[in-house]
Symmetry: C2
Subunit: 395 residues, 2 copies
Amino acid sequence: MEQTIQCPGFRAAGVACGLKPNGDKDLGLIVADRPASVAGVFTRNRVKAAPVQLCQERLAAGTCSAVIINSGNANCATGAQGRTDAEAMARIAAEAVGVDPQSVLVASTGVIGQPLPIERIRDGVPTLVAGLRHDGFGDLARAMMTTDTVPKAEVRWGEVDGKRFTVAAVAKGAGMIRPDMATMLAFVCTDVAADPRVLRTLLQAACDRSFNRISIDGDTSTNDTVLLMASGVSGIRLEAEAAQHRFQSLLDEMLLALAKQLVKDGEGVTKVVEIRVHGAADRSAALKVADTIAHSPLVKTAFFGEDANWGRILAAAGRSGIELDPDRVDIYFDDVQMAAAGQGCGDAAEARAAAIMKLPAYAVTVDLHAGDAAASLLTCDFSVDYVKINADYRS
Amino acid sequence: MEQTIQCPGFRAAGVACGLKPNGDKDLGLIVADRPASVAGVFTRNRVKAAPVQLCQERLAAGTCSAVIINSGNANCATGAQGRTDAEAMARIAAEAVGVDPQSVLVASTGVIGQPLPIERIRDGVPTLVAGLRHDGFGDLARAMMTTDTVPKAEVRWGEVDGKRFTVAAVAKGAGMIRPDMATMLAFVCTDVAADPRVLRTLLQAACDRSFNRISIDGDTSTNDTVLLMASGVSGIRLEAEAAQHRFQSLLDEMLLALAKQLVKDGEGVTKVVEIRVHGAADRSAALKVADTIAHSPLVKTAFFGEDANWGRILAAAGRSGIELDPDRVDIYFDDVQMAAAGQGCGDAAEARAAAIMKLPAYAVTVDLHAGDAAASLLTCDFSVDYVKINADYRS
């Protein structure tokens, strides 16, 4: 976050309103200068927080004027009062900014099952609105943080027909991260113009290549929300296939960069590990194996212990539910082959792998030799600090 | 293990042969005075260790004379040499005891992917056989331990038609435990007589009600083996339905007691928690919800932190893949209702639950109010020590 994050047509802000006991920033706002075209991707958890339900309904309009975001309380499992509070958040922001309350979206992250202290949000909004700036995305990124240790934001520029466009995004992650989707919020602003249906297609594809490929603890949040807002200020309209393709590439690249930041800053994470599965009979089988390895507590604690325990990787592949011939499986840590045809490659390989295990990031490749399909996931280790952070989260 | 564990018709022993670097017991043996009727239940992991493959083949005969067991090395992912070594283990034991090598079964537990030091086993067998005693099951239980902190053994007596019968069992567990099945070995000896097919039915049913209902870390081992051997010495033959029923009850009770011991002694475990799901549309849905809650790292770290975080339990239920109306879900910690119709029950409930969370064992009940089906699992917390134990396992 060394560069200033901003996007023509949008202002942002982040302040502290007392939701976090320690006084850190916990209330954020994005305002579009004029109603922006918008699309969203949300959690697939059957338990959806009130703000997620509100967003999903309001996205039918295809445009929005503002998004108000709080951390410190997820406003989830809060019943009818939760829905009333989510609508109140939107209305309070709308009145302060001077827009239609129906054009305001809401996102919340934090503890589940506690009533939202709406009065604190009401009291915080005047300062929040007063702080709106084109370069306010850094403050917003801070206001979204829960157990994140650093704010996450990215900006990229592209060109279509000689005109420049901008994509800026903020995100938060940390725990409860798995494909479909992470416990995460991400807000992407761009100055292109596009139909909401086009935005939806582009956003879903980019999420599938980024946020849906990362895993921290295998839990799926009730509040995951990714919004893509387009102001149109650049004068570029995403109609031609070439323009859409150019935008998609940039969006993919940016969300993948953010996804990697999320894993790296996952709770207690000391290693980021890419699990690559090759040679599967089909993509579904490759994904099952990658997913089982990426979530195995025994594999993840071995990563933490810098132990090249390929036996646990083979055992996880074996319980993934696919047909698998263990006597054909090869396993690599980066370029070091640890297992060939299901058996260990000996002390020399162990010694070379030991050095790789000390790196902050590396790849584990599993070749099933059963076909041509492949899949990959980004995961992390399971550390003593993960347990400590999550044992004490509510206290 | 205060009482002496023994069963008429069987002798057992356990010694140290140098497979464990610390010099602890690591080689065990059960010998039947005459060939015993036998049945087995094994891991469903597609990666099966060499001794599991050997047992599955030899069980076709329906009888066995001995079982040789080692800890410290799983003889898994060891290829053709692994199979040769498993056969050699059986042959060495057979020659020392004076039985047909084909009538000897083998079980191994420990690190995956390292060649079995068969010479140490060969050197240890004479002492092992010399140590065979009717009350040697305690030594055997010690020789099976890996990260277990205490040996596990049980004995029970029953009566059929005025005659007494005995069931004695030893087990080891600790890590890599989940339904279908645990990383566990269990050997059950009884003095009834029964057809191997009857034993198989009884054993599978008892496993489904015990070892297949416990979870420590969600990983499934490559070596899980449960054997039931029947000497017939009591003169009771399990033919009549009433006799089978009587035996089944006793076996169920005993394996459930052992399963609870396994969870309690799971790696780093400080809490044993029964997850009960009621009111599901069908049993499969109830099991999916129980399984997702029982394996959620966020739920399990909250148990460790003594945090009655029912929101994480609701969120886990929501991602379990079943249709679920969060606004109907009730959640209890023992008899304290924490959530009613998807919402928290307030500070008084939190205060009462706080006391329950400090207990070494309690139940979490989730009522979905969607039908009449139910399921339950035994799980445990996820502690700092679990991570430490598994980070350093091979070193």
